[in-house]
Amino acid sequence: MSTNNLDQLYRSVIMDHYKNPRNKGSIEDGALTIDMNNPTCGDRIHLTLQVEDGVIQNAKFDGEGCSISMASASMMTQAVKGKKVEEALQLSTVFSEMMLGKEHDDSIDLEDIEALNGVSKFPARIKCATLAWKAMEKGVSEE
């Protein structure tokens, strides 16, 4: 049995975010609340965003799912916190292009998110990685 190809997917940064999720929890007052799930597999995210003057001041998530979905949620909240809504949406576009294996704008520093690059080679897992980003997009578009 081999585990060689698995290391492309389960990079240590991802597993670190899974084991030690950033921004886990829920923002109580006056926050945007988005609940999303992946009906084919049961992954579930509860995202709360605090948006003021077009800037995402705070972002927290709760939920359950596989390592990829939960690590991606942790990374997403980390990445969008303090960003303008349009910057966050731009980042989301770059992320979804990366998931589809397309050329993406490399002028933006993706930091930890770059580690999810390998997911594009595992088509069955792309939806796991994009769940949190879809929730964020839905949240700010309602705002």
Partner: protein
């Protein structure tokens, strides 16, 4: 055990996936297809393709003969008394919806009860939820025992004289439990309710006999029993079907069409509006021939042996939980499990990298997942082409996954 020679009938099994020989353990989702089924469909399109029941030209007659011949094969396969009781549908989901929309809307009213169980597939839950909402009836669930079986005491305490429909899965797609359908049917009938059976996971694996079960309706799909996708069956007792209205109207199902009124064809065609799934039915007929050549009893025995072998080996893995009956003789070749806290998706990816196909997720049974208090599980399901070596590969894969995620979970 069945001979390994059976594998030579399934071309798809002889390939590598991610550099490893394919080990297909997802037959509960859909089975693979033997050459003779693929050939029957090809043969139909190459030599007989034509629309049915318009017997003017020779090809039309050939297609009709093959299509109706497949119906007769299904009749024999489930031991129905007449082909009038065998309706071709798109699959189990369509069959169950047909019962709910046709029989259900005409016979269920406010204050009545519909009874199902906690182990149903979504396709045997939602049609009844909708029916209950529209009619004001109450939907009730038969509780499960701790080992994922149904006790007849629970059945008796749930079904009442208000119950009009009882609908139960024959073999659970998650727990592998084989339910006492004959006994439940008897209880339903004592209260004047009709009995509907979801046979999707039963028809591939055990000999069906609608007369012995005495059920009123039975639904199943072709694709889980070596047949193609897109074809399924609704069996119904003739006396009930005669009184029911079609739910799809149009070509093929009519007798006389006037400007404001029309009449329907006789059974079973009044329920088969539109050009039917001709090639699918013929493929299903070929699948039935294939299964009967091997023998359903032999297939069932083979799967029990595989399940017993797998449960024995899997139980030896520390941290592995198997859901459902612990006695392999009480279950079909379906084993749903979790390994420590490793998420089933992550587990399935590790197995897939080693050529092993299993299912991961909620298996279209969210109420059952809730009952099990898990959000997702992994499932290995076996069929006639699986071997003990396949299970050895699974065990090796599970050990690899456990080691790989050891410091993570």
């Amino acid at each position: 055990m069945l001979s390994k020679e059976i594998r030579s009938h399934f071309p798809i099994l002889h390939q590598e996936i991610n550099g490893h020989p394919l080990v297909y353990l997802d037959s509960g989702a859909t089975s693979q297809k033997p050459t003779q089924v693929i050939e029957a469909i090809k043969n139909y399109y190459e030599l007989e393709n034509s629309n049915v029941h318009r017997g003017v030209h020779t090809l039309g007659n050939r297609a009709t003969d093959s299509y109706e011949g497949a119906r007769e094969k299904v009749r024999k396969f489930i031991n129905a008394t007449s082909t009038k009781e065998v309706i071709f549908t798109r699959g189990t989901t369509t069959s169950l919806n047909t019962v709910a929309r046709s029989y259900g809307l005409a016979n269920v009213k406010e204050g009545d009860e519909i009874v199902i169980t906690y182990m149903e597939h979504h396709s045997n839950i939602i049609p009844w939820q909708q029916l209950a909402k529209e009619t004001g009836a109450t939907l009730k669930y038969i509780d499960l025992e701790a080992d994922g079986t149904i006790s007849l005491d629970s059945v008796r305490s749930t079904i009442t004289d208000k119950t009009k429909i009882v609908s139960v899965v024959y073999v659970s797609n998650v727990l592998g439990t084989m339910n006492p359908i004959k006994e439940i049917t008897q209880i339903a009938h004592e209260h004047g309710a009709i009995m509907v059976v979801d046979g999707a996971q039963a028809s591939p694996h055990i000999k069906l006999d609608v007369q012995a079960l005495d059920c009123d309706f039975l639904a199943f799909s072709g694709h889980k029993m070596c047949g193609p996708t897109g074809i399924g069956v609704l069996y119904g007792k003739q006396a009930l079907l005669e009184k029911m209205e079609p739910i799809e109207f149009g070509g093929e199902m009519i007798d006389f069409v006037g400007l404001y009124e029309s009449t329907w064809k006789e059974l079973p065609w009044k329920f088969e509006g539109g050009t039917p799934i001709i090639a699918g039915a013929i493929g299903l007929g070929a699948a039935i021939d294939f299964l009967e050549e091997i023998g359903l009893d032999e297939i069932e025995k083979h799967e029990h042996e595989l399940a017993a072998y797998a449960m024995d080996k899997m139980s030896a893995i520390d941290g592995l939980t198997i859901y459902g009956p612990t006695d392999p003789s009480k279950r079909a070749g379906i084993i749903t499990f979790n390994l420590n806290d490793v998420h089933p998706h992550d587990l399935a990816t590790v197995l897939d990298m080693n050529g092993i196909a299993v299912r991961a997720g909620h298996h279209c049974a969210q109420p059952l997942m809730k009952w099990l208090q898990v959000s997702a599980t992994a499932r290995a399901s076996f069929y006639l082409y699986n071997t003990k070596e396949d299970i050895d590969s699974l065990i090796a894969g599970l050990r690899t996954a456990k080691e790989y995620f050891n410091d993570v979970y």
